[in-house]
């Protein structure tokens, strides 16, 4: 039991660290493109680690079919986050490129 707890805590810590890194990147990077990198990659990876930690935790503490459902939900959250942030990154970058192109043609 103690080993599972240690694994859960380590994964939680790693996940939270990645989320913090992504947030710091969002705040401190100089322009939109680098901020998009920070958000889409670091934050979602952090979410994945946190979800994995919680999945292991629930499988260890309350095994059974309900726990499998919870794990499936956590996996779904992560997949939606992956696709959602990636799609958002493309949409935002495209919107910025179009806006710059328009400003270029006006000027």
């Amino acid at each position: 039991m103690v080993i599972v707890d240690i694994v859960v805590i380590v994964l939680l810590a790693v996940g939270v660290m990645f989320v913090v890194a992504g947030t710091v990147g969002l705040l401190r990077f100089p322009d939109l493109a680098s901020r998009l990198h920070a958000v889409s990659k670091a934050d979602v990876l952090g979410l994945g680690f946190i979800a994995t930690a919680l999945a292991i935790h629930i499988l260890a503490t309350e095994p059974g079919w309900a726990a499998v459902g919870v794990v499936a939900k956590l996996a779904l959250i992560w997949i939606l986050a992956l696709i959602g942030t990636a799609a958002n990154a493309h949409l935002m970058a495209g919107s910025r490129r179009r806006a710059e192109a328009e400003r270029g043609t006006e000027a």
Partner: protein, 87 residues
Amino acid sequence: MSAAVSAALVVAAFVLFACILAGMWRAIAGPSVEDRLTAFVLLGAGGAALFIVLAAISGLPALRDVAIVVIGLATIVAVVFTRRSVR
């Protein structure tokens, strides 16, 4: 749930909440609309992380449903904002 794990979960909840507040700063201050919408999507992912941690802490499994809703609908603002470009 052992005391160490529950303590770790509480710490994680606090840190994630702090990240949400920090992301809010970018959402309000960010020089362009795209920055703000990206911050909002980050808030979606961070909020989902916070909700699943809270689900483990408080024993309310429905909070995982809230997390799915938050992250699933986070892209709607980006899709709506860029709709003008697809005519």
